[in-house]
């Protein structure tokens, strides 16, 4: 058999030793696939959780014009791209894709991300201290409307 000998001769290739390649591959996945990938092993999980540039890629994947460099620090300050994607961009895209009325319109990803940035900012603002003003309802969030079940 050729295989065992070849295995001995070739150095073992483990993707986990080459994080930059791994990240390049992960960058090309979509949100749900990333979620699945995060379940593979601890390393992948940590990478996906902590590497915000992965999520930045997903947010701007279909945006033709690369976002200005000023966006990154703002998003980082507000909570990071992962939060932006999971909290705003993804529900917005799914909501916009579902609605029949919306399918006829064409909103660029860019516009979606712009709006989601604004909503994200409002949400971050609400999470800042002082939520006691809202009658003690600490879970009040202006993004709740994105999470409500869609009226089918």
């Amino acid at each position: 058999m050729v295989q065992p000998e070849e295995q001995e001769k070739r150095p073992k290739f483990s993707i986990n030793d080459h994080l930059d390649i791994l990240i390049e591959i992960l960058k090309r996945l979509d949100g749900p696939s990333l979620g699945v990938a995060a379940c593979v092993c601890r390393l992948w999980c940590a990478l996906i959780r902590n590497d915000d540039s992965l999520w930045e890629h997903i947010c701007f994947r279909h945006v033709s014009v690369p976002p200005p460099t000023s966006v990154r620090p703002v998003v980082a300050a507000l909570g990071g791209y992962k939060r932006l994607y999971m909290g705003c961009v993804r529900p917005m895209l799914s909501r916009l894709g579902d609605s029949e009325r919306v399918r006829k319109r064409v909103w660029t990803q860019h516009e979606v991300v712009e709006l989601s940035l604004s909503l994200f900012c409002v949400d971050s603002y609400e999470r800042l201290g002082g939520s006691g003003r809202l009658g003690g309802d600490a879970s009040a969030s202006s993004l709740k409307f994105l999470c409500k079940p869609v009226n089918v």
Binding site: P68, S70, V71, P73, V74, A77, L78, M92, R95, L96, S99, R101, V102, R105, W107, E111, V112, E114, L115, L117, S118, L119, C121, V122, S124, Y125, L128, G129, G130, R133, L134, G135, D137, A140, S141, S142, K144, F145, L146, K148, P149, V150, N151
Partner: protein, 587 residues
């Protein structure tokens, strides 16, 4: 008029392509000319109507001389009579309230159907149903139904029940039962239960499906009648009617019930002169405001469209100053700060002056909000300065106190605040001249799109009823039938309920919810010397995207009207954003 409409339908087969005229006279002229296949007798009938000076000839045949133009009046008086009969409690005529069955004379088709089905089902005592009516001679030996009709009126499909309940007083109240199948022309969308479902499930009250529609119409009529009684200072009648409204409202479901309840409460306050205490804890009203912000798109729409206008006006400025006429929780400003941070060319220095009412407990609510905004601005990297300005009314604003600095681009923003100044004479003019003295680059105004400031109470009431019905409907639509209803929904309704109370129950300087339409505000701004600024397509796109995000948001519509944007529910615009600037020559 309905009669004419029905009559022209009759001729529809014979004539060819003539329009159905709006007024009796014009349609009769057209019919006379074109319809040659009509029998001469019918032609003469129309001709008579036209020649007899507009006398209604159907009533004329019975011996009444009523002008066609007065028919609407007659109908209204009949309705009022019915109303009074329904609530009659006095001796001697109290039987009118429970024992009579009233027929709707416009509903000929339904009446004929009912006659025939009733005859089929109770051949032994036909007189019980028809009273004075002549019963046509029908062969009772053959018990098979005269016609098979699968419409919702075929209540014989309900097993084990008489098709129509016997004549007995309604167990709920002494309200008379009205055999009417035609729903009134009110535009309030009451969602009726689907007939087939109701037929099967409602085994005890088969007529409910019709009743709730009828009751909805009755409810609106009773509310209007009550308001009219209040206007004529007939408080006794108004009191009786308001109680009746309460009873009728329980038969409704959803938005209609809530709106009716709030309006009834407000009317009751007006009748008994228990005016609501406006000086409520403003943190409570802020909380209600927040829930309204979260549960519906109106305030978000307002903020996003106003921010877009401000952004465009600030495109090249290095130092910007925004004056917010109603800071509340400052929810409008994070998005603007973020947009300024991402502006090409970097963020400008951002100064915000927030105006708010004095707090009863002396806490500095404005400063707290300012502090939060400062935190946010710092994390994003925008230089931020905040100043709070406390005043009871916008008319007390002094331009010198606002500390405008040279080289600063100023924006004035008013979201649902300006209409309060209409409560005192001269106040709005003073505010507008203060704004002009500040010399802003842009003034953004968002107001409710309704006229709740008319001189006649009844007109205001009717406008408000339609407006808040649409508003409550939209909230209901967005809630998507979640049970139990979310706290947001309840609080938002309470927020609106307080507005309703103010519009209906208060007067003079206490009535601050003096909403006016965009057209009225436009006139006011133009005559004060402002030029309109068109809100760009960016704002429109953003607004429509925002609406698409709302569950149940299929009913929301963004409209553009002469450069201003309006958000509405179905065909009814409910809130309008407009932007203004001072013409260049004046500065």
């Amino acid at each position: 008029m309905k009669r004419n409409h029905k009559a022209t339908l009759e001729f529809g087969g014979g004539g060819s392509g003539y329009g159905v005229g709006g007024s009796g006279n014009s349609s009769s002229v057209v019919v006379k000319g074109e319809c040659s296949t009509m029998s001469s007798a019918k032609a003469k009938m129309w001709g008579e109507e036209h020649e007899a000076g507009g006398m209604d000839e159907l009533l004329g045949a019975l011996g009444y001389k009523v002008r066609s133009s007065d028919m609407a009046d007659v109908a209204q008086k009949l309705e009022e009579l019915e109303m009074v009969m329904g609530t009659a409690q006095e001796d001697g005529i109290s039987h009118l309230a429970c024992d009579t069955v009233h027929y709707d004379p416009t509903d000929l088709y339904g009446w004929v159907q009912r006659m025939l089905t009733e005859l089929n089902n109770s051949p032994n005592d036909p007189t019980e149903f028809f009273g004075n009516h002549q019963i046509p001679n029908i062969d009772f030996e053959n018990q098979s139904p005269v016609f098979n009709d699968d419409s919702e009126y075929d209540l014989r499909a309900i097993p084990g029940m008489a098709a129509y309940p016997q004549i007995e007083p309604d167990s709920e109240s002494s309200q008379k039962r009205v055999r009417s199948s035609s729903v009134g022309s009110d535009s309030i969308p009451v969602l009726p239960p689907s007939p087939s479902a109701s037929n099967v499930s409602e085994s005890t009250r088969p007529v409910v499906l019709d009743d709730s529609q009828e009751a909805g119409v009755r409810l609106v009529h009773t509310l209007m009648a009550c308001a009219e009684a209040v206007q004529q200072n007939n408080l006794k009648l108004a009191d009786a009617l308001v109680k009746h409204v309460g009873v009728l409202a329980t038969s409704q479901a959803g938005a209609m019930r809530k709106v009716a309840t709030y309006f009834a409460q407000a009317l009751a306050r007006r009748i008994y002169r228990i005016y609501p205490d406006e000086a409520l804890d403003s943190s409570f009203s802020d909380m209600l405001h927040m829930h309204f912000y979260e549960s519906s798109p109106y305030l978000k729409f307002a903020h996003f469209t106003a921010n877009q206008a401000i952004l465009e006006a600030f495109a090249t400025a290095n130092r910007v100053h925004v004056i917010d006429f109603g800071l509340k929780q400052g929810m409008q400003w994070p998005a603007l700060i973020q947009a300024l941070a991402l502006r090409s060319g970097g963020p400008p220095k951002f100064r915000l002056t927030g105006i708010g009412p004095p707090q009863p407990d002396n806490t500095d609510a404005l400063q707290q909000v300012g502090w939060k905004l400062a935190q946010l601005a710092e994390t994003i990297g925008v230089q931020f300065e905040f100043r709070g300005y406390v005043c009871n009314s916008l008319a007390d604003l002094d331009p010198t106190h606002l500390e405008t600095r040279p080289g600063e681009a100023v924006a004035v923003n008013s979201v649902l605040e300006l209409h309060r100044t209409l409560a005192r004479p001269g106040a709005v003019e003073k505010v507008l001249s203060t704004i002009k003295a500040i010399k802003p680059q842009i003034v953004t105004i968002v107001e409710q799109e309704a006229n709740h400031n008319g001189l006649v109470f009844l007109d205001r009431f009717s406008e408000a009823l339609h407006y808040y019905s649409s508003l409550f409907d939209s909230l209901e639509g967005s809630a998507a039938g979640l049970t139990p209803p979310s706290q947001d929904l309840i609080m938002s309704e309470l927020y609106l309920g307080r507005q309703i109370c103010n519009v209906v129950a208060c007067e003079e300087s206490e009535r601050v919810e003096r909403h006016e339409t965009l057209a009225q505000w436009r006139t006011r701004m133009v005559s004060a010397g402002f030029d309109p600024v068109r809100l760009g397509s960016n704002a429109f796109k953003q607004a429509s995207m925002l609406l698409a995000l709302f569950a149940g948001g299929e009913g929301y519509r963004v409209e553009e009207s002469n450069g201003c944007l309006m958000l509405g529910w179905h065909t009814r615009p409910l809130i309008a954003t407009s932007a203004w600037k001072i013409p260049a020559t004046e500065s």
